[in-house]
């Protein structure tokens, strides 16, 4: 398979025609954002791995102010959110939006500006956090740039830059979407256009209310709302927008049920943001609000089930693709983990389970399943599908991609189960009034296993980056016969 044979009918041929006539998709921007996404993922995981060493009394930079555990732990979460996920989704939008609207994005020059603005503000966030310019807003520790409680600048105002960056992203992608608004929109565009608007609203709301206006329990309620909106109204819609586009394209069949798509989108829009307060249950936030959050969290699980059913209905008859096509495998693994994570959420949001697992490693276990197991898996899967098509080159090594899949999946699942178990033990020891240091010592073996699992995940992504790099650098034309294999057809 060293040369391009005649392309099979369908997407591959369509791709060629579309791109030679009008270059709808700005390939360089897709590639830039995807590679940035993978690099930020590796960076974030490196910080996470280093931070885990602190728990083993083995962190080499302990005692050095700028690399103190508390500070690098922030880099781990913020780089995943603002570096890896945002770049991955923007890369996705550069491919998906022009194809769904039949129109180019606003401007290629704006594309480069957006790219550099996001890289700059992610670097500025990381450097600011190492320098101690952190903001006490979970998942939004990006520096405000102001001296606490004043309007005096003491650092780059990253919060403001993120708002500018989000508005630029909206201009870039909403332009083709608005131009096409007279036509009915495909499911992906519902998620994408709403997600773009939600990102701006959520970010502004969280970074003004919690930081400047609401104290104590109402601040906690707004903070929970912000955390959940960011995940539920930006990351999740972008992720599902991606799935609704790529899965039918790759499997070459339509989404199973339009009705389920409608139910899925609208119930996500309605129920997901109502979950916020479940981050602070059994607190001094009014109980009516807490119960409301618990009930809507459970409602989300019902919604999630409809979406999962829709995608497995789509997969029906093409199950072979899971075996033959790594992208589909990443996507559907992510969907199964999404189902698990939401089911877990519906269970642990109940007050009797909260009582045990809150404040324990159960929660990071859950968070890793969502941020890595679902959304990063989807970004990795999409990158694996787009990369040979954007570079025009055949994979340097398909075997390395399999290594990446298994290292990441085994690593993640080990970490998930390990942290869940640690959390339950921690929770019951807390309830049993065990001495504090006994609880800490009971966690040692779990923390060791967590580091090992994290090392596997990190190794997988380094292999992936190496493979992407070599693929881009090794001119060996991509063989479109793979498209049939990818669709789960004849191997």
């Amino acid at each position: 398979m060293s040369s391009i044979t005649a392309s099979p009918a369908g997407d591959a041929a369509h791709d060629g025609a579309a791109e030679s006539a009008v270059p709808l998709v700005a390939k360089n921007l897709v590639k830039l954002h995807l590679i940035a996404s993978i690099l930020w993922m590796i960076s974030s995981m490196t910080w996470g791995f280093l931070a885990s060493l602190q728990f083993l009394h083995a962190y080499p930079a302990e005692g050095i102010e700028w690399f103190s555990f508390g500070r690098i732990r922030l880099l781990h979460t913020n780089e995943i959110a603002y570096g890896c996920l945002v770049n991955g989704f923007i890369g996705c939008l550069y491919y998906v939006v022009p194809r769904l609207t039949g129109r180019k994005v606003l401007s290629a020059g704006l594309g480069l500006l957006v790219f550099w603005v996001w890289q700059f503000l992610t670097v500025a966030t990381s450097v600011g956090q190492l320098l101690g310019k952190t903001q006490a807003l979970e998942w939004g520790e990006t520096p405000t740039g102001f001296k606490p409680g004043t309007f005096e600048l003491n650092y780059i105002p990253v919060d403001f830059l993120i708002e500018v960056g989000a508005v630029l992203v909206a201009l870039q992608f909403m332009t083709p979407i608005v131009k096409a608004m007279k036509e009915r929109m495909y499911v992906s565009l519902w998620y994408i256009s709403a997600g773009i608007v939600w990102l701006i609203l959520t970010y502004v709301m969280g970074n003004t209310l919690v930081e400047w206006n609401f104290p104590g329990s109402s601040g906690a309620a707004a903070s929970g709302l912000y955390i959940h909106d960011l995940v539920g109204l930006f990351v999740t819609p972008m992720g599902w927008g991606m799935m609704y586009f790529f899965v039918p394209i790759i499997l070459r069949k339509p989404i199973w049920s339009h009705a389920l798509s409608v139910i899925g989108f609208w119930s996500l829009a309605f129920f997901y943001p109502l979950n916020g307060v479940h981050h602070y249950l059994l607190s001094s936030i009014p109980m009516s609000v807490q119960y409301g959050a618990v009930i809507s969290t459970m409602a989300v699980e019902i919604v999630v089930t409809t979406v999962i059913v829709n995608f497995f209905g789509t997969m029906w008859g093409r199950g072979r693709a899971i075996h033959s096509n790594l992208t589909i495998r990443w996507f559907y693994t992510g969907m199964i983990l999404y189902f698990i994570t939401c089911l877990q959420c519906a269970v642990h949001t109940t007050l009797s389970v909260q009582k045990v697992i809150h404040f324990t490693d159960w929660v990071p276990g859950h968070a890793h399943l969502v941020m890595l197991g679902v959304f990063s898996f989807w970004i990795i899967g999409m990158t694996q599908w787009l990369w040979p098509r954007m570079t025009g080159n055949e994979w340097y090594s398909r075997r390395l991609n399999h290594w990446q899949y298994w290292l990441t999946l085994i690593g993640l699942f080990t970490m998930f189960v390990d942290l869940l178990a640690a959390g339950v033990i921690h929770g019951y020891m807390l309830d049993a009034l065990s001495p504090w240091m006994d609880i800490v010592r009971a966690m040692y073996p779990f923390w060791l296993l967590r580091t090992i699992a994290g090392g596997m995940i990190l190794a997988g992504q380094i292999l992936f980056f190496w493979n992407l790099w070599k693929t881009a650098r090794t001119p060996k034309p991509y063989d479109h016969r793979w498209d049939l294999v990818d669709a789960g057809g004849a191997a």
Partner: protein, 278 residues
């Protein structure tokens, strides 16, 4: 209709967001914190903690670097000078608590379940957290270390200083990082006891014990040594020649501010509502 841009953005993008904001942001604010003014720094620092006054003696070097510190540390300083220095110190300490992300491993949020009130102390009402030190809220998210809601006054300043400098020295096995950069080299007065007193009290006359706080400069420590020498009782007058100024580590002004914040935690509560029953 459900797949038109105007519906998606109007009803979904803005409508659903607004409903959620009203129900889980604005509504809890309106029925709790919105009803009373937030307590400011002056209010929450009005009762100066004895631990804070102790810091002026114990860590004079770092204390002098606090805003208003020198005024408060003067002999016979009025209570208002203490209050002013205290308010600024806990604010500075709170900012460091945020910068170091202490709140990622320590909660300030005791729940009425899992025996938490037995282990950590009283469950606080939303009124107790309606104060400026809880904006942004520092309830926390994970307990790698214990809850700090009621940390103030529980342990001595020395314990906290030693724990920040090297957590394993006070809590063997702890995974908390060392915060060495909140400590600086300084000078301290050390004294060996009079041999006669040592024999009576079963002390080692050869061991030099620290008898003053940690000063930033050698001269200040020497001045303190002279003051101590002048105040020795006759029985111990031989100790005047048994004193020396030695190098010692003490908290920097930032370090003192962190200690002040930790010793403040939980010491302020909202005053009872006017008209009685809460």
């Amino acid at each position: 209709m459900m797949d038109r841009l105007t519906t998606v953005l109007g009803v979904g993008g803005i409508g659903c967001f607004a409903v959620a904001f009203l129900l889980s942001g604005a509504y809890p604010y309106a029925i709790t914190d919105g009803r009373e003014p937030e307590a400011g720094w002056d209010e929450i620092a009005k009762d100066v903690s004895p631990d804070f006054k102790d810091m002026a003696v114990r860590f004079p070097g770092g204390f002098a670097g606090l805003e208003g510190g020198p005024d408060a540390a003067k002999a016979g300083a009025p209570e208002d000078a203490w209050r002013a220095a205290y308010a600024k110190a806990i604010r500075r300490g709170r900012d460091i608590y945020i910068a170091e992300a202490c709140w990622h491993c320590h909660s300030q949020y005791v729940r009425p379940v899992a025996n938490e009130d037995i282990r950590f102390g009283k469950v606080r009402s939303s009124r107790d957290d309606n104060n400026v030190a809880q904006r942004p809220v520092l309830w926390g998210t994970r307990r790698v270390g214990p809850d700090l809601t009621h940390e103030g006054g529980l342990r001595s300043n020395d314990w906290h200083a030693a724990h920040l400098l090297d957590p394993q020295s006070t809590s063997p096995g702890s995974v908390m990082p060392r915060y060495e950069w909140y400590f600086a080299d300084g000078w301290q007065v050390a004294r060996r006891v009079d041999p006669a007193v040592a024999a009576r009290e079963r002390l080692d006359p050869a061991t030099a014990r620290a008898v003053s706080g940690v000063y930033a400069s050698e001269d200040e420590a020497k001045a303190e040594m002279a003051r101590i020498a002048a105040s020795l009782p006759d029985e111990r007058s031989s100790e005047k020649t048994r004193m020396s100024v030695v190098r010692a580590k003490g908290p920097t002004p930032d370090g003192v501010a962190v200690l002040a914040y930790l010793q403040w935690l939980g010491t302020w509560e909202a005053p009872p509502k006017e008209g009685g029953a809460e």
